[in-house]
């Protein structure tokens, strides 16, 4: 069967700092003090999602790509019932995530950005209790737990308390836990952050295999190669808005020319821009700031000679060059003017 996802015009404005950003400590009887003195003017407004609409097909591996703080985790939070949207709606299959939470929760498995394993339990108990929450019978959940421990290479640590686990082991156990009840949709929030390259490849393999069973997978990442390697479709998100979406190939094809050459001069004039535009293979020239120019072209290195000659002939000093090959990184730069890691 397979379950799709639909998001309609989702907005989320935090009026208190979201839990990830700390807070939540200290006495807070404030909320229950009726009337009383005028409330302190602690105006906090953080627009995390600003009208996001998306459609994710059943059986797709869909990627949300964007820098830190772009709204990826908030989107996942809303889709997994953990964040209440300010407005807009989200559906897992036919179920409205906010209004039919229990039905939605049955369909989803979640791998959080930071492992939130139950520290009071052993690795195996984490899996068996998770199965029990989802109504699996004793024998069924014990068999599944053993299978998953084996597949994620955790069998020899099955009876250990997880507080002694390394980061990579916790991450693997988080994924095993999310798969324990065989969900139709698997959410992975930054799954490969902090993993060594080998574990990362193992993770990709696990995700691909799970997808082959017809499951829908939603993954957030700020690694271009991961998005490129795993995802059927992508949405690029920045400042709570979707700035582009499509297959990785479509998105890359959308960049004018494909290559992006970022040039820095002492200063830039209109004449220089016009001269650069005339060079062979150049599709677009944009002035980013008074000293920088972005050149989109169908070639990279071979264009350097002509650019240097043009600049010299016009009396400009070329100070810095960065060539970005056709990639999602270039696409992100193209749309936001910033690098993904900014």
């Amino acid at each position: 069967m397979g379950i799709g996802i639909r998001i309609e015009n989702l907005r989320k404005v935090y009026d208190t700092p979201p839990p990830m950003a700390g807070g939540g400590t200290g006495f807070s009887f404030a909320a229950v003090r009726p009337g009383g003195k005028e409330k302190a003017p602690r105006k906090f407004d953080l627009v995390a999602l600003d009208g996001v609409s998306l459609e994710i097909g059943a059986g797709e591996v869909f990627g949300l790509l964007g820098p830190n703080g772009a709204g990826k985790s908030t989107t996942i939070g809303v889709l997994t019932t953990r964040t209440q949207p300010t407005s807009g709606r989200a559906f897992i299959g036919e179920f409205d995530v906010w209004r039919q939470q229990v039905e939605a929760k049955r369909l989803i498995g979640v791998v959080p950005q930071r492992p939130n394993l139950d520290f009071a339990l052993t690795a195996r108990e984490i899996l068996t209790f998770h199965g029990a929450y989802f109504g699996q019978g004793t024998r069924d959940r014990e068999r599944r737990a053993d299978e998953l421990l084996e597949r994620f290479k955790l069998t020899d640590r099955a009876t250990h308390m997880v507080r002694t686990f390394s980061g990579g082991m916790m991450q693997r156990l988080s994924i095993a836990r999310a798969m324990m009840h065989d969900p139709e949709v698997l959410f992975l929030d930054e799954p490969s952050a902090g993993l060594d390259p080998q574990t990362r490849l193992l993770l990709w393999e696990i995700i691909r295999n799970y997808n082959r069973l017809g499951k829908t997978i939603v993954i957030t990442t700020h690694y271009m190669d991961e998005a490129d390697a795993l995802c059927n479709r992508l949405a690029i998100i920045d400042h709570g808005r979707i700035i582009a979406q499509g297959t990785p190939a479509e998105l890359k094809a959308a960049i004018p020319g494909g290559y992006l050459l970022r040039l820095r001069f002492g200063r830039v004039t209109e004449e220089l821009l016009a001269d650069l535009q005339k060079l062979p293979g150049v599709t677009q020239v944009r002035s980013v700031d008074p000293a920088s120019v972005d050149v989109y072209a169908d070639r990279g290195g071979p264009l350097m000679g002509p650019i240097v000659n043009t600049a010299q002939a016009a009396g400009f000093e070329l100070r810095d060059v960065h060539i970005a090959e056709p990639s999602l990184e270039t696409l992100f730069l193209h749309h936001t003017g910033r690098s993904l890691r900014d």
Partner: protein, 256 residues
């Protein structure tokens, strides 16, 4: 409502509580039992306190033990689980409305409070030795009062657990629990405060007063105590208020 999930959540808390049985028992019972030894044994045997003080003391000790057990069973894990590690997230994602997770925590706390209360009776009785005259003639009244006390203590734990940060746990004990115990009429009957008219009225906001007085009425009716119906009414009202507040705070903590 999904009973399978609810039961599984309860089984998880039971499993963790069993694993920590000894430290939990020491945490909840050592202090009240030491108090029982000093006041119920040393002071009475030496003649500083009359022997009848034992009867007055035992229900109060039981109330304190139940409150400590219930509050700690719910509040301490909640405070940890809601910290940045968000250990509770797995259970918030279980297929059940999240309010039921709070209810489950309260039920688990009630069970622990009841166990603590029931362990204290024979333990304190053994420590104090002869002269304790308990009356089990009103089992139904005793059960109702004990359940309401257990409910109030674990609901109190829910409210505190959702209001206090990890760094304030010490403060919770010294600012909330210590005054509550001292002014909870556990070590003296409410009528003893008649010579302090303001205090006599002020302590009525303290739920432990009703707990101590109610258990006195049920276990040692020969000692002066508050009217039992009044106690049951007050505890029920407090429980309802705490339930509303606790669920509201739990939702605020659980959903961003």
């Amino acid at each position: 409502m999904n009973w399978k999930t609810f039961y599984a959540l309860l089984a998880r808390d039971g499993h963790v509580a069993r694993r920590n049985l000894l430290p939990t028992l020491l945490q909840n019972l050592l202090q009240p039992l030491l108090f029982t030894f000093v006041f119920g044994k040393v002071m009475t045997t030496s003649g500083i306190m009359p022997a009848s003080y034992k009867n007055m003391l035992l229900p109060g000790i039981m109330a304190i033990s139940m409150v400590l057990a219930g509050v700690q069973a719910v509040a301490l894990p909640l405070i940890t689980e809601f910290q940045f590690s968000r250990e509770i997230e797995d259970r918030l994602l279980a297929p059940i409305e999240i309010g039921w997770l709070a209810v489950e925590k309260v039920v688990a706390g009630m069970i622990q409070a009841m166990v603590a209360g029931l362990v204290v009776i024979p333990a304190a009785w053994l420590i104090m030795g002869s002269g304790v005259k308990l009356d089990f003639g009103k089992p139904f009244e005793f059960l109702v009062v004990a359940l309401l006390v257990a409910l109030f203590s674990s609901l109190g734990g829910l409210v505190l657990g959702c209001s206090v940060g990890q760094t304030q746990i010490g403060l919770m004990f010294s600012l909330v629990l210590a005054p509550m115990i001292m002014f909870g009429c556990a070590y003296y009957p409410w009528s003893a405060l008649e010579s302090f008219p303001i205090l006599h009225m002020a302590v009525l906001v303290n739920p432990l007063v009703y707990a101590s007085e109610g258990l006195r009425g049920a276990l040692v009716p020969q000692v002066p105590h508050m009217n039992t119906l009044l106690v049951i009414g007050a505890l029920a009202a407090i429980d309802l208020g705490l339930l509303y507040l606790g669920l509201k705070k739990f939702h605020q903590k659980a959903v961003s």
